[in-house]
């Protein structure tokens, strides 16, 4: 079972690690051909250029927002890991974005990576044999969990019982359809199911003798349809005989992890070393826990957002959680999702009432690089009123500190109905960026080309040097505000959510609505009543938007300013001025014609309505959602706006979850506003099959997806140019879109056991083909945007009787990237990889030696060969301490010659206590 999982994981890793493709855009990355539900996915990429920030954005397919992970640089490669709890059978979408030292960004997929992320098929986790699972399951399930109606009979919560023959009993009387063969009973984390008596009505276990102190019992259930139910956990005390006092200090427990990594990479003569140390410490009692995480990175820099992490989580029972330092809050996708906050977050959950509050810093202020022309630009040399040379500077390259505050208040009634209100405020601190950076350098051009009076010599100056040089010569003009760099912003989002469930959460309805207010430039603060009056028209007449004809007759009435609040009085809440969006939240004309549609289609609103049902092995889901083109949350910049989507899906599981068949229909468009020009429409049909009969048996999964995408454009755009001679010329641009994309994925896994050794064979095939339905009507200059690709791989892993483990991988990846004037077959690159890795254990597993060799040959448009060598050693001086060391090199061979591309050494030490 474990082997199968490992094998699948190896597939993912190998595909992304061993193979390197030459693709445009400066990012070398091959997406994984598949992933396994619940298991982490590691992606790797090589970037051309100096990277200052590398982020991996990921989400469950179909979700609105992203979670983001920092990528780390190791062995000449950027690595990022998507945690297993985000990998579900609904599929995975991710995007990689690199920010380069010149301020530009590149990413994968190429183009707008975040708007059009890479999709990864996710196959179900291999079947777990009952009664052999170890350790407490802590919510890492990837499927939905139904409410459980378990009744704890004995001992009661907090009850004090004697040491001997303690009866633990829970009633399943009110739980429908319990599968007694899949009940799991744990006492203090130890699985005691085999010693327990389990029936469809009750689970009992008699503990022979328990130690004095606090004990925790957990019962985990799965119903006959294969759905997991919420686990039931309770605690009780065991008192000793005589006069033993159970001191709380005896129940105190702690654990921790210390990890330190150092990598040194040499790429084309440039050496880059990265060090990172992380410490996790968890301590407390079952009912009161404190966890701290500290990460220190040598990549921490005042010129980028923090890489170091410092956080503490304090949890009292399940009711109060306080987070301090760096944390990733989850409130509502329309507020914040996947974004790190540095501050404080509190979560009071009384089951019927929940209050979540967050306050902190969303972005820290960055003053900007001090190097040439990064923080200042000399825009103009002119003369002042008395004829002296005046040097006009502009400030740029900075990031404002962004303060953040958010909250949600939720009410739950009868465990069936819940309603909540939420809101957030994110505002840039104008004063967080310094106007003067004395040592920041910029180029001063020769004054002779601009003014007639003598200035200073041209050259590279710092601000301090310029101030000194201009003493007695002329002034420096550096504005107090309205700099050329980014503008300070203010953002408000407010909304509500509600939902209800029936039939023990088998039928769930959820909905949320939110509206945003965004001010893109608050340099000048809030406007007053007079400025509001003239915000949409030029007449200071007490009406906003009132228009007149030439004779002064009123054409449109507008909105009276009388009675409207003065925005300056509410500046602490929101800075309202002409730069805000929306100025008018609703289309008044549409409101009079179709009021309901006008409200629903407010451009700055977002909403969704979702229903889920779990019946007879089916997981049915239907969702309608819309995010208006002007809806903005600064705490979730990855929420796709201007998007309307309808999704219907069903996953049918039979034979104890061994066979699952899924179907999904998704329709999306951006025709929210009546004024949208050439809206696109995209319809996706996906069928998935997965068959995993059990541990140690062959498994099969497949998915077939068709994506039809069109826009309403039926003719070519015409561009008319007028040359300086006055002669007109016409050009045509083909912006019509009508494509059909087919994505096919098949995976077969075969485990074999022979003579005490186990072998696993995994074959995967993935092809993506894009057909242009208008191909016959296109001109030869037209370049299709999407690329066709095909990948096939065979991975064999073996665990021998001896301490030897080996993996062999063969793969071929073919990609056709459309290029102007070239046939698709002429724009094809073929990447063939063969690689092997071996690990040998020594001294009873206290040490391991590993070595590997890979060969990548690329033919077609790009032609080169990579030879990869790697080796490593792992040593455990004692059980909880591990030291690892590895070295690798990649040798690149092209028609120009052979050279060592990269050389990397990595050291790491782990200590767990």
């Amino acid at each position: 079972m474990t082997d199968l999982r490992t094998l699948a994981l190896v597939t993912v890793i190998y595909f992304s690690v061993a193979v390197q493709a030459q693709v445009p855009g400066g990012v070398l990355h091959i997406p994984p051909t598949g992933a396994v539900a619940g298991q982490a996915v590691t992606v790797e990429a090589i970037v051309e250029g100096q990277v200052v920030d590398a982020r991996l954005y990921h989400r469950t397919a179909g979700s609105s927002g992203y979670h983001e992970e920092d990528m780390s640089f190791s062995i000449s490669t950027w690595k990022g890991t998507i945690p297993g709890n985000f990998v579900s059978q609904r599929g995975l979408e991710y995007a990689i974005v690199f920010t380069l030292s010149d301020g530009s960004s590149i990413g994968f997929p190429h183009g707008d990576a975040v708007s059009d992320p890479q999709f990864v098929n996710v196959v179900p986790a291999p079947t777990r044999a009952p009664r052999i699972r170890q350790g407490i399951q802590t919510g890492d399930s990837t499927g939905p969990r139904l409410a459980s109606q378990v009744i704890v009979l004995s001992p009661g919560e907090g009850e004090v019982v004697a040491q001997d023959n303690v009866l633990l009993a829970v009633s399943l009387f009110s739980v429908d359809g319990v599968d007694p063969n899949r009940v799991r009973f744990l006492l203090d984390g130890k699985d005691v199911t085999t010693e327990a008596e389990v029936t469809v009505d009750v689970v009992t276990y008699v503990a022979p003798e328990l130690e004095v102190g606090l004990h925790t019992a957990t019962v985990e259930l799965t119903n006959i349809y294969g759905y997991e139910l919420e686990p039931t956990t309770w605690s009780f005390m065991v008192g000793g005989t005589g006069s033993q006092i159970v001191a709380a200090v005896e129940e105190f427990s702690y654990s921790g992890k210390l990890r330190s990594d150092l990598s040194v990479n040499q790429v084309d003569g440039t050496t880059l070393s990265v060090g990172e140390t992380s410490t996790t410490l968890e301590a407390g009692w079952e009912w009161f826990k404190v966890r701290t995480d500290i990460k220190r990175s040598t990549q921490e820099s005042p010129f980028s957002q923090p890489r170091n992490r410092l956080s503490a989580t304090i949890q009292s029972s399940d009711f109060v959680t306080v987070r301090l330092g760096d944390f990733t809050p989850v409130l509502n996708p329309y507020l914040v999702q996947g974004k790190r906050i540095r501050g404080i977050g509190t979560d009071l959950d009384l089951k019927w009432l929940r209050m979540q509050l967050i306050k902190g810093e969303l972005e820290r202020p960055i003053q900007g690089f001090l190097t040439e022309d990064r923080s200042y630009q000399l825009t103009e040399i002119t003369t002042d009123s008395i004829g002296r040379p005046k040097y006009v500077l502009d400030r740029k390259g900075y990031t404002f500190g962004r303060q953040y505050m958010a909250g949600r208040l939720g009410l739950s009634l009868f465990r069936r109905f819940h309603i909540g209100v939420f809101g957030q405020k994110a505002k840039d601190e104008v004063g967080s960026v310094l106007r003067k950076l004395g040592s920041a350098q910029f180029t001063v051009p020769d004054w002779r080309g601009a003014i007639s009076v003598a200035g200073i010599d041209s050259g590279l100056y710092s601000l301090s040097q310029l101030e000194s040089a201009l003493e007695g010569v002329g002034p420096i003009n550096l504005s107090e505000k309205n700099w050329g760099g980014e503008k300070p912003m203010d953002n408000l989002v407010a909304g509500f959510d509600w939902g209800f469930s029936f039939d023990d959460r088998r039928l769930i309805v959820e909905s949320a609505w939110a509206m945003s207010m965004l001010n893109r430039d608050i340099w000048d603060g809030a406007m007053n009543i007079a400025q509001m009056d003239t915000s949409l028209d030029d007449s200071l007449d007490g009406y906003i938007g009132r228009s007149y004809d030439e004779l002064g007759n009123i054409l449109s009435s507008g909105i009276s300013t009388e009675g409207l609040p003065n925005p300056t009085q509410f500046e602490d809440i929101f800075t309202a001025n002409i730069n805000m969006t929306p100025i008018v939240p609703i289309d008044y004309q549409a409101l009079s014609e179709t009021p309901m549609a006008a409200v629903l289609n407010m451009p700055s609103s977002a909403y969704h309505l979702k229903t889920r049902a779990f019946y007879y092995g089916n997981t049915l889901e239907m969702k309608y959602s819309q995010v208006g083109p002007e809806f903005t949350s600064l705490a979730n910049p990855y929420l796709s706006s201007n998007l309307r989507e309808f999704v219907f899906s069903d996953r049918f599981r039979v034979f104890d979850n061994k066979l699952s068949i899924g179907y999904e229909y998704k329709s999306r468009n951006n025709k929210i506003l009546r004024t949208t020009v050439d809206p696109y429409k995209q319809k996706t049909n996906t069928m998935t099959f997965a068959f995993a009969p059990g541990a140690g048996m062959s498994s099969f999964s497949a998915s077939f997806q068709n994506v039809a995408r069109t826009n309403e454009k039926t003719s070519l755009d015409t561009l008319v140019y007028t040359s300086y001679t006055g002669k007109d010329s016409i050009a045509f641009r083909d912006n019509r879109e009508n494509t059909m994309t087919s994505n096919r994925f098949v995976s077969v896994g075969v485990p074999v056991r022979r003579n005490g050794s186990s072998y696993n064979f995994l074959m995967t095939y993935n092809s993506i083909g894009v057909e242009d339905m208008l191909e016959k009507e296109r001109t030869s200059e037209y370049v299709q945007k999407a690329a066709n690709s095909e990948a096939i791989s065979l991975i064999t892993s073996a665990k021998f009787n001896s301490p030897l483990q080996a993996t062999l991988m063969l793969s071929r990846y073919t990609v056709q990237i459309p290029m102007a004037g070239a046939d698709l077959t002429d724009s094809e690159s073929r990447l063939t990889t063969i690689g092997g890795n071996g690990t040998y254990g020594l001294w009873g597993g206290r040490a391991k030696l590993s070595a590997g060799l890979s060969l990548l040959t690329v033919t077609g448009v790009s032609q080169f060969t990579f030879i990869g060598l790697n080796g490593g050693v792992e040593f455990k001086p004692f059980n909880k301490f591990v030291i690892r060391s590895s070295a690798s090199s990649k040798i690149k061979s092209t028609d120009k010659g052979t050279e060592v591309g990269t050389l990397a050494v990595k050291l790491s030490a782990n200590y767990v206590f």
């Binding site: 009110s174 029936t199 276990y205 005390m237 029972s317 009711f319």
Partner: protein, 229 residues
């Protein structure tokens, strides 16, 4: 006609066979046992066998406790609890109706304390040869003697006490004692504390307590009570 009905008959026979083959559903579990406590299962074995904690009880199982023995049983649907003192003989009844049990204790003799959760369906009743005590949700003691009749000590809520001979009915309020005689007599008086049986769970060595306050599940406070002797 027979041919037309034969599938229906066949299904009925198969369904009947299937249902009759199902093991009897459990209605309660014994959680505490002290001294000699025995059970006579309703279906399988007519002989009495010793009871251990964790013993599952079915409808119509019969339990008897020896002198100075003690037992606690809990119904599975709502945690209603019945405590048996020594020298008690009773039959446990529980019929599944929907998602609840209709519960009844047929007591021949002895003393029981019923701690009854709010009933979702019907009433919880204790029936003796002399009387029936029924409640919706409360706790009370019932001491039964076939010669002298029954004494019902109500601790909280309302207990309806019916004399089966005369048919007379009284409602017992908290701290009231009802006496039901074999001759049909039924009377109510204030409870004399000394007469109330002692709960073995609460008696004897009262544990001392060490209280540590934390967040309570209800949102106010959670108190960890460490008890020691």
């Amino acid at each position: 006609m027979f041919v037309k009905q034969s599938p229906l008959i066949l299904i009925s026979v198969l369904l009947g066979s299937f249902l009759s083959a199902q093991p009897p559903a459990s209605v309660a579990v014994v959680t505490k046992v002290k001294g000699n406590v025995e059970i006579r299962k309703a279906v399988s074995n007519p002989a009495f066998t010793p009871v251990k904690a964790g013993q599952l009880l079915n409808d119509e199982d019969f339990i008897r406790t020896g002198a100075n023995a003690f037992a606690v049983l809990i119904y599975l649907d709502d945690k209603s609890m019945v405590k048996l003192k020594g020298d008690t003989n009773l039959e446990i009844r529980g019929k599944r109706v929907g998602k609840a049990l209709e519960k009844n204790i047929q007591i021949i003799g002895g003393s029981v304390r019923a701690v009854v959760s709010q009933q979702r369906r019907g009433e919880f009743s204790v029936t003796s040869p002399t009387s029936v005590a029924s409640v919706k949700g409360t706790s009370f003691w019932m001491v039964t003697n076939s010669q002298t009749g029954d004494a019902v000590y109500n601790e909280e809520g309302v207990v309806q006490l019916t004399n089966l001979t005369s048919g007379d009915v009284v409602d017992l309020l908290a701290n009231q004692t009802g006496t039901s005689m074999p001759d049909g007599g039924l009377s109510v008086a204030a409870t004399i504390a000394a007469n109330v049986p002692v709960d073995e769970d609460d008696s004897g060595q009262e544990p001392k307590e060490l209280r540590i306050r934390f967040t309570d599940p209800d949102g106010t406070e959670k108190v960890l009570i460490v008890k020691y002797n």
